[in-house]
């Protein structure tokens, strides 16, 4: 029965990783260059969840299997004065939609809360069972 708590922890960890990824997307929503300073915009990242705990996939739980790059096309904006503009004056911006990121962040935080609730109930049920002995 105690491993219910491990399961809850795996959920918390997965949702937090998702939140980190979303935060990374939001801060880089206008990043037109990569880490080397080349004019390649930031690609949106997203997490892929899979059932089973991280490190021991046969245990019930959830884990982040992979952080994938979103291969959808970059947004193009007409900004001829921008240093990263191409010959036609278009600048490539990341393929990030802020509204979508916000909604995903909300969902992640709700899922996190749900896991916290489950862990609290688990703890309370466990202590009730333990009081049978004492």
């Amino acid at each position: 029965m105690f491993d219910v708590l491990d399961m809850g922890a795996s959920g918390l960890q997965a949702q937090r990783t998702r939140m980190d990824t979303i935060a990374g997307n939001i801060v880089n929503a206008n990043t037109t260059r990569n880490a080397q300073g080349q004019p390649i915009p930031y690609r949106r990242r997203f997490v892929l969840f899979a059932p089973g705990q991280a490190g021991s996939p046969d245990k019930p739980g959830v884990r982040v299997q992979e952080i994938k790059l979103d291969q959808s096309p970059f947004q193009k904006r007409h900004e001829p004065g921008h240093p990263d503009a191409d010959a036609d004056g278009y600048v490539k911006y990341p393929n990030i939609d802020l509204a979508m990121e916000y909604v995903n962040a909300l969902e992640a935080s709700r899922a996190y809360e749900a896991n916290v609730t489950m862990m609290e109930v688990s703890k309370q049920m466990l202590s009730a069972s333990l009081r049978l002995i004492a």
Binding site: G11, P51, P60, V62, A114, V121, S122, Q124, M125, L132
Partner: protein, 133 residues
């Protein structure tokens, strides 16, 4: 032997099985909550009604059996994939509201059973001590 007989009469074994059931079901509900965003995950559950029906049948059988012959040890909840809620595009049929209400009901049942068992054990203790504490 005597203690075993004492513990296996009345509703004590029923409570014990129910406690096992609520613990196992809680685990499944927690697994469902944890996998609420996992693509392709199918919800798991155990039916309380079916479990209680099994217990009821065994209680009926116990009435006609020799004392101590009927055992509840083999009664367990059955794992199933309930078809409820809508199937989302990611192949997950989550329903957070359903999960939370199941979780609350299950935890309440668990706590109720724990209280009942505690009562029984203390009654037994009183009987053994031959005085009321």
């Amino acid at each position: 032997m005597f203690i075993e007989r004492l513990l296996n009469q009345g509703n004590a074994p029923l409570l014990e099985r129910t406690l096992e059931f609520t613990a196992a079901r809680h685990k499944l509900i927690a697994e469902n909550v944890v996998n609420v965003d996992t693509p392709g995950y199918q919800q798991k559950d155990m039916s309380l009604e079916k479990f209680q029906a099994m217990l009821r049948n065994r209680v009926e059988a116990r009435r006609n059996a020799a004392p101590g012959a009927a055992s509840f040890a083999d009664i367990d909840g059955e794992l199933e994939n309930p078809e409820r809620g809508i199937l989302f595009h990611d192949g997950n049929n989550r329903s957070m509201e359903q999960l939370m209400s199941d979780q609350a009901k299950n935890a309440l049942l668990h706590n109720m059973v724990v209280e009942l068992l505690k009562k029984q054990y203390s009654a037994m203790e009183n009987a053994l001590r031959e005085r009321v504490t």
